[in-house]
Symmetry: C2
Subunit: 338 residues, 2 copies
């Protein structure tokens, strides 16, 4: 049995989508047990709408919720009865529980996870690693993208190592193409951190393909982009933000008048395909690589499909043994250095 | 007479578009004199296709060209006869010449400009400041976006000061909304540089509206975004890159089959409006703020309209006295600090 916590609150459509995603995941995987954290009464009512094996779900009462508007560090400290803090505490104390899926506040999760859940032995800093759909129909991951604003070469090397294993285990990519986020493609580009990291990545047992400029993130030429948390965050959010703004603009153009509505109707299938391609609900969430337990964070506006994909992702990473693989790889490097 | 150099080579469509843009600009502004740098014979032939006042154009022979594939620092050092190096040298030596417009290699320009042209008295580091169209029909500027990969608080303060005056002078924005690029909107977000800069910007005589997350760049809520050159570069290129990729995807969807082509035909006007809105050819170029002369850099794939807009921009900045305004403002701060 694989035990995973699902923080049932904190998203825009919680707890409905959290419960729906959970039901779909347990009905598909008979060796999956989900612990839902949140208001017990509300969750019981929500669960009563579904058919499922009651042995596969437990509720852990947590009457409070952390919202996205709260200051993360404060919220984690003060809201001890929140669905996220209760989830993190259980994750820390119960060895049987392997992972956590949440669509709540990213800031609160990052503030709470490292402190409460701890790191894999040898990991300097866990890296936050979201994925984005590419123009060629695949995905690209960026690590780190917000957990660590100040990074050194060793941190970036570890992001590369962990992200590389992640792309193998989670997406079955045999030899992930790993790139370094930089302001130009030549090897001598960027600041001191980039120049040193470039050389360090060349020495590693990786398919390092060189520097990547931010404009090429969605090209499909890369599987993993290594970055400090500050510029990785800028990269991810500007890419998502621009795509969203353009889709909004397109929607507006297509509903402008009767004529444009007719054109839109004819093109509906093609435009929906673009929207679908860019829709994070069809992919998994972001993973906190290097944390001692599997932690998957879905978008706050996730629908139940997205929650389902996040749970599947956590389940798969457990089955594939990502944590052990990271620990083993880090030990190997340590041994080599001694 | 305002004398401006136009580097006539180095772009994808050079020198045709450079000459066309120049002709349009001088025909509109009788007090503008353009010095074209580049192969004299080629330029004479190109000019012979147009009607213009010959007193308004001079050719400065420069048989060589720096391409975008060359290592910038090397190219600037070695290609002494290139249209860009010849332009930069004239800019340095001739006090009468006030500005330079180029659509050649950004790297070469940045490598050459600061060294050869120098800085306004008091400016620590010139900042590269491109503009992007926003979703509300305006523009937003980002400074720095690639000239300085390592920045301290004072550099960012100066980018804010210079960018603020630039938005006033070039776009007539009375009270530019200035934001700091960060990974969250709360004042305590980001690394030490961001936290300190936040406080410093609050103390300045600016309409500082706080931190901006990269996803909101195109929202229309900001006029100037202050950043270090590394993350500013990531921001600009990922925003442009994502917009381009999505427009490509849309084009593909609209030409997929006969049915989608019919839909596209009906929607043509609306989709062209989106493309136009995102088209940099309709805006000016990026400005190197703090350099001792006005330097405007257009996209390498600029058409003649874009070159025209870049020349107009340089001309306007001269007329509006941006350089003197920056110098005066810096002196005021220096006096206050004494």
């Amino acid at each position: 049995m694989i035990k995973i916590i699902v923080d049932a609150f904190g998203g825009d459509r919680s707890p409905v989508v959290n419960v729906e995603g959970t039901i779909r995941a347990i009905n598909e995987n008979k060796d999956l047990h989900v612990i839902l954290t949140g208001d017990e009464e509300v969750l019981r009512k929500e669960l009563s709408k579904h058919q499922y094996n009651i042995e596969q779900i437990t509720i852990l009462h947590a009457p409070d919720v952390i919202s996205c508007d709260e200051v993360p560090t404060e919220a984690i400290r003060k809201k001890k009865e929140s669905s996220m803090v209760v989830a993190l505490n259980l994750l820390r104390t119960d060895n049987e529980v392997k992972g956590l899926v949440t669509i709540g506040s990213t800031g609160a999760l990052l503030a709470g996870a490292v402190l409460r859940v701890g790191r894999i032995r040898g990991v300097k800093r866990p890296g936050f690693c979201p994925i984005l759909p590419t123009m060629t129909g695949g995905v690209v991951a960026v690590c780190d993208s917000g957990a660590n604003v100040d990074c050194d070469v060793l941190h970036l090397q570890q992001f590369a190592l962990m992200g590389n294993l992640y792309m193998k285990k989670a997406f079955g990519i045999e030899n992930p193409r790993v790139a370094l986020l930089n302001i130009g493609t030549e090897s001598e580009k960027g600041d001191a951190l980039r120049k040193e990291t470039y050389k360090a990545l060349q020495q590693m047992d990786l398919n390092f393909v060189g520097n990547m400029e931010s404009r090429d993130l969605l090209s499909g030429d890369y599987d993993l982009v290594v970055s400090d948390g500050f510029s990785g965050n800028v990269l991810i959010k500007s890419t998502e933000g621009t795509a969203l703004e353009l889709l909004k603009l397109l929607k507006k153009a297509m509903t402008k008048n009767l004529k444009s509505k007719i054109g839109a109707l004819i093109l509906k299938k093609e435009v929906m395909a673009i929207k679908d391609m860019m829709d994070y609900n069809n992919y998994g969430g972001a993973v906190l690589l290097g944390a001692n337990k599997t932690i998957v964070k879905g978008h706050g506006s996730s629908k139940s499909t997205a929650v389902y994909h996040c749970i599947k992702q956590a389940y798969r990473l457990e089955k594939e043994g990502l944590r052990d693989a990271i620990a083993a790889e880090l030990e190997k490097i340590e041994d080599n250095n001694q």
